[in-house]
């Protein structure tokens, strides 16, 4: 069995993001780059299946600048078997989904895991787009993944507004991971050593013969509107009084 996990390099969640003075993008200086947290969860789920089912190859793929190798190495150090870097810049979710569809055609995985959302552009789109391009079922925002013994289908629990629902998808399918699916492991030192020797294939995005022209163009970027400064209150009484008589919300 083969599991493909698509991941993304993003600024660390702890990094303070600032819009640059020109309003064209963010300030990249001082940004620490990591594997998108939901992608880590996707990798972990693939590794768990590998551990329980045996005979499973876990292949990572990312689309981005050559620096994304670092994030692929992190995933390899966690335990994935090999990685594919498709080099391309300034793709939007449409472009990424087209590239990934090509890689899926090439690799013919039994299931594809992605994070539900990248914490940089916060789009929450690539998995759904990829599913449509492949004509596959999608299961988004999952917190539980149970593959049938014959590996032909999976039952998933999905986090939806107001609760959870269980769906069944025939494999291959596109699965996007939500927060509670698992607790991703840290790469061990031996894992990191081994990862250096694992295969990492580089493919030029332009060579895939897909349209990479973005459909969504960022014209400008601005910092969020600032909130007016508030004040500290000394006691619960003062707080209740302020909410009643100043803010008039009680």
């Amino acid at each position: 069995m083969k599991i493909l996990v698509a991941i993304k390099r993003v600024p660390d969640a702890e990094t303070t993001i600032k819009v640059n003075p020109e309003g064209t993008g963010i300030v990249n200086a001082g940004v620490k780059w990591v594997v998108n947290p939901f992608c880590e969860i996707a990798i972990e789920e693939a590794l768990k299946i590998k551990e329980t089912k045996g005979d499973v190859e876990v292949v990572l793929v990312t689309v981005g600048r050559s620096e994304s190798q670092e994030q692929l190495r992190t995933g390899l150090a966690m335990g994935a078997d090999r990685a594919i870097l498709v080099t391309a810049e300034n793709l939007d979710t449409t472009g990424v989904s087209r590239v990934l569809a090509k890689i899926v055609e090439k690799e013919s995985p039994d299931v594809v895991f992605l994070g539900k959302q990248a914490i940089d552009d916060d789009s929450n789109e690539v998995g759904q787009m990829l599913a449509q391009r492949l004509g596959w079922a999608q299961a988004c925002y999952i917190s539980e993944f149970n593959m049938a013994d014959d590996a032909k289908s999976a039952q998933v629990v999905r986090e939806i507004d107001g609760g959870m629902r269980t769906d069944k998808v025939m494999l291959p399918a596109i699965i996007t991971a939500d927060l509670r699916l698992n607790e991703p492991r840290y790469a061990s030192l031996p894992g990191i050593m081994k990862a250096r020797k694992k295969p990492l294939e580089e493919i030029d995005g332009a060579s895939l013969g897909v349209d990479l022209e973005p459909k969504i163009i960022i014209k400008s970027m601005a910092p969020p509107p600032a909130r007016a400064a508030g004040r500290l209150v000394e006691s619960v009484d003062e707080l209740i009084n302020a909410l009643k008589n100043e803010a008039k919300v009680l």
């Binding site: 600024p11 969640a13 303070t16 993001i17 963010i26 939901f38 449409t94 989904s97 539900k116 914490i119 940089d120 552009d121 916060d122 789009s123 929450n124 789109e125 998995g127 759904q128 787009m129 449509q132 004509g135 079922a137 299961a139 988004c140 039952q155 986090e159 939806i160 507004d161 107001g162 609760g163 959870m164 629902r165 269980t166 769906d167 069944k168 998808v169 399918a173 939500d178 927060l179 459909k215 969504i216 163009i217 960022i218 014209k219 400008s220 970027m221 601005a222 910092p223 969020p224 909130r227 508030g230 004040r231 500290l232 006691s235 619960v236 707080l239 909410l243 803010a247 919300v249 009680l250």
Partner: protein, 318 residues
Amino acid sequence: MGNVLIFAEHAHGELPKATAIAVGAGKEAAQKLGGDTILAVLNNTIGGLAERAAKLGATKVVTVENPALEHNMADVTAAALGEVAKAVDAGLIVFAATTLGKEIAPRLAAALEAATASDVTGINDDGTFVRPMYAGSAFATVELKGDRKIISVRTTAFEPAAEDGSSPIEALSVDIPMPGNPAEFVSQAETKSDRPVLTEANRVVAGGRGLKNAENFTTVLEPLVDALGAAMGASRAAVDAGYVPNDLQVGQTGKVVAPALYIAVGISGAIQHLAGMKDSKVIVAINKDAEAPIFSVADYGLVADLFEAVPEMTGKIA
């Protein structure tokens, strides 16, 4: 551009507030960019849904009734909407940025090769859209290329359409191009609660890691939640720690809320949390750490031990 097609999300035969908000955003788009507003109701049985949708005052309500549309499956619903979009000459398709809207919109975008933007917070006169990125640390003005565009709109950023209209209703007969291996619904477990829906509530009381465990959510926080008739929310840290279910999560990767009153209890205020509540009208922070970032967005901050302050507040309000 063509018309503005709006997806009518529904559950249990009712239209949630999110649908009225999507219609509100759709009307704003039509006013600025032209076209009629067409509200699409899709289900296995339409029943009273069409009449309820008609009250939202779109130019027209269209319905598609098909057994395959039961259970809001993203693949089949996207396939059906693609046909509706062509039938009504949709130039812009609007979804509420709910979990369902965000499941379907990108899939439909790929099917129609349409440009798409999620979580839109503003519609500009020149046809560009505004959307947050990086947990709300940046707001991008984006242009969507091509003749057909798809957006999901953040429900806190637009006003709901009033329920005083009466749109004409038209049943569309649509051949749904069925996906090869459609996903199947198995079961649904809805969170049962007598409290208001988190994303629709006028007041929200949210707890964080400072509550220390699940039991304290019940014994310390919930009495205040109920005394205020509020919805309960939580930070990702509290969800991560297993104190409360994920559907209470407020923040970048959870729900986005903007109630009249938001009380953050024992929440430090990471940017990811602020992304989900910063637009609340009045924000109160109760935290024993005076340096906590939550105080930077709070209208009223109380530096105190929550285990003393919250019960005291509950007692004085009840």
